[in-house]
């Protein structure tokens, strides 16, 4: 039985390379740094696959005031966490898209539209998308991202959705794909591989 898609945000701004979704409050497990999400694009002809690389919670005037209050009540804290006006921002790197032909590991033809729903990828979808590691170069080539930590988190998560017996082989293969990308920088590769180790 397929899992029910979990809505995690709505798109607030986007480009073909990345999109940002806003949500009220993150669930305990999703979204997390390094997990996959998807948002429809091209009027439903495709879905952009995103890799969450940043989760940002901005402050507001009320939060700043409560923060310096002498003894705020639990009710005040909870109210400001849940009912705050400034949303939590989830930044996603576009690492591929799906269409009728399956997954493509390239930048999408079009980004999602504003306020499109952003869903977390189910475990089955993660497993299917990560059958190929062709998205890894897109992560390495994205400027200004903590690419190594992001990949380590994403690949570990992708291993966890697989049966126990396949997890090590998956991580080894993933590590080799990373090694190909970082062949000229052994120190960086060494750190990444250590982070991947089961």
């Amino acid at each position: 039985m397929s899992e029910k898609a979990v809505l995690i945000a709505r798109v607030t701004r986007c480009s073909t390379r990345s999109f940002v979704g806003a949500s009220r409050l993150p669930e305990a497990d999703v979204p997390t740094f390094g997990s996959f999400c998807k948002a429809r694009a091209q009027r439903g002809q495709s879905e952009v696959i995103g890799l969450i690389y940043d989760i940002r919670i901005e402050d507001d005037e009320m939060a700043r005031q409560i923060a310096i209050a002498a003894d705020p009540s639990q009710e005040q804290l909870a109210d400001n966490r849940v009912s705050r006006l400034i949303p939590i921002e989830i930044s996603c790197l576009a690492v591929g898209y799906s269409s009728q032909d399956g997954y493509a590991y390239a930048l999408p033809p079009q980004p999602p539209m504003t306020l499109d729903d952003v869903f977390a990828l189910s475990r089955d979808e993660v497993m299917a998308f990560t059958q190929s590691m062709d998205f890894v170069p897109l992560v390495f080539s994205a400027p200004g991202l903590p690419a190594d930590e992001l990949l380590a988190a994403c690949l570990r998560y992708s291993a966890e959705v697989r049966p126990q017996s396949e997890q090590r082989a998956f991580l080894v293969e993933a590590g080799r794909v990373c090694a190909r990308q970082l062949a000229g920088d052994v120190a960086r590769l060494d750190r990444l591989v250590r982070n991947l180790a089961p």
């Binding site: 090590r168 991580l171 080894v172 590590g175 080799r176 990373c178 090694a179 190909r180 970082l182 062949a183 000229g184 920088d185 052994v186 120190a187 590769l189 060494d190 591989v193 250590r194 991947l196 180790a197 089961p198």
Partner: protein
């Protein structure tokens, strides 16, 4: 073409379908560099194995041999910060990708799609051409099948089902060599090849059997007994002639004759090669020619004092023709002749004609030295004595045949051991063995030299060796010598230096399409049977059939 099954689709390519790696560099002269696929480990490869390279831009297939295996890394820094022994995961990830194996492949043959027979390489496969382990079918295609003139001598490494067949017609066309350290199985390989030649009837062989290894049964290091050529060919294709009848009888060897060489048959040319063994100086050797000229055919008997000709010798000294000290030295050294029982005063037997006749009739002759094999001078003397005379007869008969006055002589292969004693650079230029090696098959006589020190053989002679079967050699000079005159063979040096100590040989040259490392064929009942020797039940069956043919039921 068979379609891929659903299971194949699911499981992916079988290991044998996966390429070992891809060509990443190299040249025709230095060989190809191949990056090994991460799925393969260098630990399962071995130099000497065959590979097949499928050209990327053409349908051409290249056959090559792995000549070296190495380790490399994309970043030199990896050597400074390798994964520690307990970091299995890191080691597994890095192995095959940034730390990878390489192999060096010497391309040997190429085959176009529309051709049946491979031919020597004249180009190389392009970048990133896939390299596969050669299948049994691939290797079979190169070495053909066994027939009357192609003799099975061994199997390629790790390919027990594939036969490497020696082209015997080409083998006897030029002189050949079997080289290897002591105890590596040279005699077994030589005996196997000789059995093939004798079975094929392509040539007669004259074997100077120093250690009694070829004629009758022989024991290996573990004491196991193997049949000699005389036993393998009981129908008269092989004769054993001994110099030491007593020893041959004691060994239970069936001999067909005893060789006696008369003093009067020996010429200074026969003794000249013994210079280093008998301590004969250049002056003494010159004196021998003079003594032979002055004293006639009995010159050795006179020198030994067997004839009452002391005054004649004294006259030569008195006339200043020869120094007294030189004469005395020669006489002391010639005492050696008395210790050689096969040397007899007088004219001796007509052994040369007898042996030549046998050889020309298609009978191979094994000359057993018995205990005289331990005396190098005896071996060199007899080999030189017989070879010179038999070669003379071959030259004469060949010339008669050329003039339409006789038949072509039957091709002859002369087998000599410790060949460097005959083909030393100092003497090879003017000995009969050097002549035979250089003149190729002009007079239908070639050499099969068996030696453990090929570096001691004259370079010019080595360069004329057509087929080389080489067991393990570890002396650098010997390895270099084995490859002299072989173009592009430098890469095979690593292969040669890493052969097993027994039953492995690198065969290259005229009689094989490409160099091949073989596990040599077992010299056992299967070989006996393949050359037609019947034993046990088969022998009884044949005897019964013969009896029935002769006498009826």
């Amino acid at each position: 073409m068979s379609e891929r099954s659903e299971l194949d689709e699911h499981l992916g390519p079988k290991p044998s379908d996966l390429p070992l790696g891809v060509v990443v560099g190299g040249s025709l002269s230095t060989g190809l560099t191949v990056k090994i696929h991460p799925a393969f480990t260098v630990e399962k490869l071995a130099v000497g194995r065959y590979v097949v390279i499928r050209g990327r831009q053409t349908d051409r297939t290249f056959f090559g041999i792995i000549t070296d295996i190495g380790l490399d890394a994309t970043d030199a820094d990896l050597a400074r910060r390798p994964p520690m022994p307990d970091e299995d995961f890191s080691a597994e990830v890095l192995s095959g990708e940034i730390a990878y194996g390489t192999m060096h492949v010497s391309p040997m043959l190429m085959l176009d799609e529309d051709q049946d027979q491979p031919r020597p390489v004249k180009t190389i496969p392009g970048h990133f051409s896939a390299v596969f382990e050669a299948s049994a079918k691939d290797v079979d295609r190169v070495f053909g099948t066994e027939d009357k003139t192609h003799f099975y001598v061994g199997t390629p490494l790790d390919m027990e089902s594939v036969q490497v067949n020696l082209d015997l017609a080409r083998f006897i066309e030029r002189s050949a060599g079997v080289f290897g350290k002591s105890g590596t199985g040279k005699s077994f390989i030589t005996r196997t090849v000789l059995a093939g030649i004798i079975r094929s009837g392509l040539a007669s062989t004259l074997i100077f059997d120093m250690h009694n290894d070829y004629g009758w049964s022989v024991l290996d290091e573990s004491g196991r007994e193997y049949k000699g050529l005389r036993q393998l060919f009981p129908g008269g294709h092989v004769s054993v002639i001994t110099l030491d009848e007593e020893t041959s009888r004691a060994r239970g060897s069936k001999v067909d004759g005893v060789l006696r060489v008369g003093y009067e048959q020996i010429q200074p040319e026969d003794v000249e090669m013994l210079g280093s063994f008998m301590g004969l100086s250049g002056v003494m050797i010159d004196a021998l020619y003079y003594l032979s000229y002055k004293l006639g055919s009995k010159w050795i008997s006179i020198l030994l004092g067997d004839e009452n000709e002391e005054t004649t010798l004294q006259d030569l000294v008195d006339e200043g023709r020869i120094l007294g000290a030189t004469l005395s030295a020669i006489r002391r050294r010639f005492e050696f002749f008395r210790r050689m029982g096969f040397l007899v005063p007088g004219k001796g037997d007509d052994a040369v004609d007898e042996i030549f006749h046998r050889l020309n009739m298609g009978t191979s002759v094994v000359l057993e030295f018995g205990t005289y094999g331990n005396t190098m001078a005896a071996y060199v003397l007899v080999a030189n004595y017989l070879t010179r005379r038999i070669h003379e007869r071959y030259v004469r008969q060949k010339n008669l045949a050329a003039g339409g006055q006789g038949d072509e002589p039957r091709p002859l292969v002369i087998v000599i051991e410790e060949a460097h004693k005959f083909l030393d650079p100092q003497i090879a230029g003017h000995t009969i063995f050097g002549t035979i090696a250089r003149e190729l098959r002009k007079y239908s006589v070639t050499l099969l030299i068996v030696d453990q020190r090929p570096s001691g053989i004259d370079d010019e002679v080595m360069s004329q060796i057509g087929t080389r079967m080489t067991c393990l050699l570890d002396n650098e000079a010997d390895i270099r010598a084995v490859f002299s005159g072989v173009s592009g063979a430098g890469a095979l040096r690593e292969v040669l230096a890493r052969l097993d100590t027994q039953q492995q040989a690198l065969i290259m040259g005229h009689a094989v399409p490409m160099p091949v490392v073989v596990r040599t064929r077992d010299y056992d009942t299967s070989l006996y049977a393949s050359i037609g020797l019947a034993e046990g039940e088969e022998l009884k069956k044949r005897a019964k059939k013969g009896s029935k043919t002769l006498y009826g039921d």
